[in-house]
Amino acid sequence: MKHIVHFRYTLLAAAVVLLLPLLLSSGTLATEVLVFALAALGCNLLLGYTGLMSFGQGIFFGVGSYATGVVLLQLKLGLLPSLALAALGGAAVALLVGWFSIRQRGTYFVMLTLAFAQMFYFLAYTMKDVTGGDNGLLDIPRPPLSVFGLTLLPTGTSWQYYTVVAILFVLVFWMLQRVVDSVLGKTLLAVRDNEARASALGYDVRLLKLAAFVISGAVTGLAGGLHAMMTGVAPLSNIEYHTSESILVMTVIGGTGNLFASLLGAAFYVLAGNWLSTLWPRWLMLLGLLLIAVSLYMQKGLFGLAVKLVKLLRPAKSGAQESIAKEKHS
């Protein structure tokens, strides 16, 4: 039982992954939920666990998209090597952006990440030979999941591709949950809560922040790679400010400081956006209002709301809730 408690969020995430095909009729939509959930996980590791609000997540998402596109189009590698390079590309660029940005704290840091997002947008726009400029990279193929030439899973239809993405998602979720539960994760929390104290205790705060950045960049790059394969294009818009903003908004609406919350946030954003945009093309205005409401009244996001509801429905019963409540405070 104790074992299951330890894995509860990973199991919860796996349950959502299994539920999505039952609730949604479109495999692409379900895949999109998981892809952006991955990106939101990366953002949450920075915001929720390290206290770094990054407007630069779109950089890593875009770099992942382009890396996958280039690798699949030019080198014609398989699915796994392409994604590995997308994650590696995201991590490398995150190392660079992080190295510059973490020299600053607080609002200065936030402004810098946005400035870097703009920088990489214009860089991608300028490097037409690599990125295709305004047009992006087109006709990106989607190879099957194979190891040493042995095909394990096909990716021809959108639901087949969903299966591959779902497996990767649960795997990454589990690994990230391990990271945040580890000593590194706890130290990141210490940096978030009191940077001066963490530094006084002898932790290399810069190195820790950089580590969080690199992991976040790798996960977000992977998400970008999966997105490029999902749509068959790596457009310039993947590296735009708007992407950074969307990823951050998903993370915040879901709730920070809990990885499962990011899945909730991404699912809400993608599904609500999909549904509302057919009703009203200006639905982003509602999102803006929601963001205002979250910052005024609902700072723990949807996950915080859910925890509150659970506590209301089952007042002080088992240890599991206590630990959820504890996590809310941490």
Binding site: M119, T126, L284, L290, I292, S295
Partner: protein, 288 residues
Amino acid sequence: MNIYLLQIANGVGIGMLYFLLAVGLSIVFGLLRFVNFSHGAFFLLGAYLCFQVVDMGIGFWWSLLIAPLAVGLFAWVVERFVLRHVYALPHHFHILFTVGLALVLQEAVISAWGPLGNNVSPPDMLQGVVMAGGFVYPKYRLFVIGLTAVMALVLWWVLEGTRLGSIVRAGSESTEMVSLLGLNINRIFSLVFALGAATAGLAGALAAPIRGADPFMGVEALGIAFVVVVVGGLGSFWGALIGGLLVGIVQSVMSTVWSEGAHLMIYVAMAAVMLLRPNGLLGRPGAA
């Protein structure tokens, strides 16, 4: 040689506009200690109000009065009734709130004026160029330099020479102290926020005849305003001026050397300054 001289002169014109765009952001940060992510949206609103006023035949000159006043009034209402409740929260909720506000404004602009860009023509007397020897310069840009220089002087006088200015400067050191002196700090917050928004609105109106009005200019403006204050130093009036001019000149000169990379070079210049002076050229350490 002449072409570079012209581009530097051009850069001064753009740079003064960037100064006007960024100075409000910087002053608001200095007093309220928070970065306004809807600043770009105020710029956007200013540009569209200019377009609307010109389109209705009221005239460009009126737009220079109406756009900043309307944007300032809107910001005053937002600060007075909603934003005030956000100050006590951790700083990333300030940012989220203003990001939400920027989204709402951008979508409102698209709802009202459509997703496509619009052109605004400068008034007749500012069309054409001024010639001095072999030197050719657009009249409208000369006017922008003149007006923004006047605005810079006015702002500097307000901050350094008036009672409001001394309260604002004192408030940016210690808001508690200012309240203890019996001044209503909340009213000053509203006023400064409105002033910051109005300068962005004016910058937007002035920019409209140069680059038109399109719904996504707010994001671009926000990015540039951030670069200007990062380069100059957050909260510093002269930093905003120097940063604005530097960014304007870099962009303008680069557009001759490598036109596609002109925007990119702005951000490269920012990274270079960051390496040499992490707090900006005139910033104090720990200001953020």
